[in-house]
Symmetry: C2
């Protein structure tokens, strides 16, 4: 296992991942999830090597409350893309709560039985960290690794809660939300500003006995969407019905995505969005790096610990502590 | 107006605020809300002078959804404390959305007609910033100024949304939530983890025709609270009914607060909580200061801007940009 070794052979890793070797791909992702500084450094070096080989997939985000049938939809859509279009499909997850609920998202591969058996699919559960920032970063990095390994479609699943939805939105080209037919909180979700983030709303579990209700719900959403102002993408979010169980609506769903891609690639929005996502990613890296630099600076660090202690002991008020820190910074770093 | 002057006379400001001069108090708060570095510095100096004169008030947080009657309750409670106990009452607000909805919280002083006419009351609307961090910091600082000006009771109002509730919780001794009688989202609020943060739940607008329903709702909450684990304060949240319109329940509400204060002052929890709040405050100040230091360092700043530009122009990938920043930091600041 790579986790225990002191060093990895960058060249071999790069070659094997580019060949589509899933064992090396998995090990590399695990390396990236490590909290050890050495592992992170090795991983960053590997990623830097692989990024030029990435970027050619379509990244699709899928959200929805628990029970909306995200895994079933991913199973149907993934299988469809592999069988019909000979795509290679990777499935990742952003679920900051996975440590708490024992990784319910993608934790159970049996929920994607067909897909997990396919040679053209790669399924990776959410890293078990409780920190959303860490999970987001790991997933974003995994996207590049999967792309370098030749996956054409990256499906990223997340639970329907605000922060992680926004995180997934920041790393995908296309974002869809699943709502169960007859689910009461539809309007609520739209109000919450989800509309801003979605390109497609799927009324899911529109099985035969519920298909009429589902269609009427989808029609209501279409009417509602028409009332909202146009988005920067110039794409009007679509509302449609789908039953993964009965395999209806899957090809229509894919056609919608294809249409979105054509439209936004022609308008230049697709590339523009990716550039903006890169800028946002770098901005996160930068914050992290500056923070780490300050934390690792020995003299500054000692001084900060000392001040913190005096605040805790109530020797210093917060404002006086703040003045002390100012002096410390000035004494350590000349401003010229 | 102090906002336009280049300098303020610290000594006069300090003296006048300590005398309870509300005009100087208002000007000082305005100074603190300024985004100009000079104003912030002057304000910090003033605050440092005033903090030794602060700390002797009781800080009470009040939350609840719009329409729960927060302003009416504050009007009733404030008037009661002034008339019956000759207290001086200051009212502040944390409402990060106030810029959007034109400062609905406390914006309209006519909603607190009696209180706003009283010489022993000071009412200050939420600063109109959209950034919660900024609003929180301004409000926390205003607390100290009001205390130095002799206010015994500080009432801090906030809207019932997660983040600003937590912000207010971090600066008060006692926290209460208002729920309108018959309001449907009671259980929802409790589920959202509000229980953890409240010391008192008021079923509000329990007017004569609704008093029985209100009492039964309060009883249900009491039962629910009994199921939750004990809090660090060893205080079991209380559920009670109140009608500000009919002025019933106000003295019981105050007696509950008095009982809380006695219990937590005796156990030492009261002081311990304030110390922890100070530590948290300093931790915010420290983050802000380190960030500002980095932003203001000319060479570092130039280098960062250059790197950012190259990321935007897609000359650098985020990871390569990150490496460049690392080199820049190492070259500017020797680690010894």
């Amino acid at each position: 296992m790579v986790k225990r070794s002191q060093d990895i052979d960058l060249k071999i890793f790069k070659e094997e991942i580019c060949k589509g070797n899933t064992s090396f791909l998995s090990q590399a992702i695990t390396l990236g999830e490590s909290t050890l500084a050495l592992h992170r450094k090795q991983f960053r070096d590997l990623l830097t090597e692989l990024i030029p080989h990435s970027g050619s997939s379509i990244r699709i985000g899928i959200t929805g409350t628990p029970g909306a049938g995200k895994s079933t939809l991913i199973e149907s859509l993934g299988t469809y893309l592999i069988e019909k279009y000979h795509k290679k499909v990777a499935v990742l997850a952003v679920d900051p709560s996975s440590e708490l609920n024992h990784g319910s998202i993608l934790g159970d591969k049996t929920r994607m039985e067909l897909l997990s058996r396919s040679e053209d699919a790669f399924i990776r559960p959410s890293p078990s960290k409780s920190n959303l920032g860490g999970v987001t970063q790991n997933t974003r990095e995994s996207v590049y690794l999967c792309e370098a390994a030749g996956y054409d479609i990256i499906l990223i699943e997340t639970v329907g809660v605000g922060q992680s939805e926004i995180a997934v939105h920041s790393m995908v080209d296309f974002f869809m939300i699943l709502q169960i037919v007859g689910g009461g909180d539809d309007l609520q979700a739209i109000k919450r500003g989800v509309y801003e983030h979605i390109d497609l709303l799927v009324i899911h579990k529109a099985d035969e006995d519920k298909v009429n209700q589902a269609r009427s719900e989808a029609a209501n959403f279409k009417k509602m969407f028409a009332l909202f102002p146009a988005k920067q993408s110039q794409w009007n979010p679509v509302a449609m019905t789908c039953s993964s169980k009965e395999n209806t609506g899957i090809s229509e769903l894919w056609q919608t995505i294809v249409k979105y891609l054509e439209q936004t690639q022609n308008s230049g929005y697709f590339q523009k969005k990716r550039t903006l996502q890169n800028i946002a990613w770098y901005s996160e890296l930068q914050q992290e790096q500056l923070k780490r630099f300050l934390e690792e600076h020995p003299k500054l660090n000692d001084g900060i610990l000392q001040i913190n202690q005096e605040v805790e002991d109530e020797i210093l008020t917060p404002l006086r502590a703040s003045k002390r820190l100012e002096k410390l910074l000035t004494s350590l770093f000349s401003n010229t």
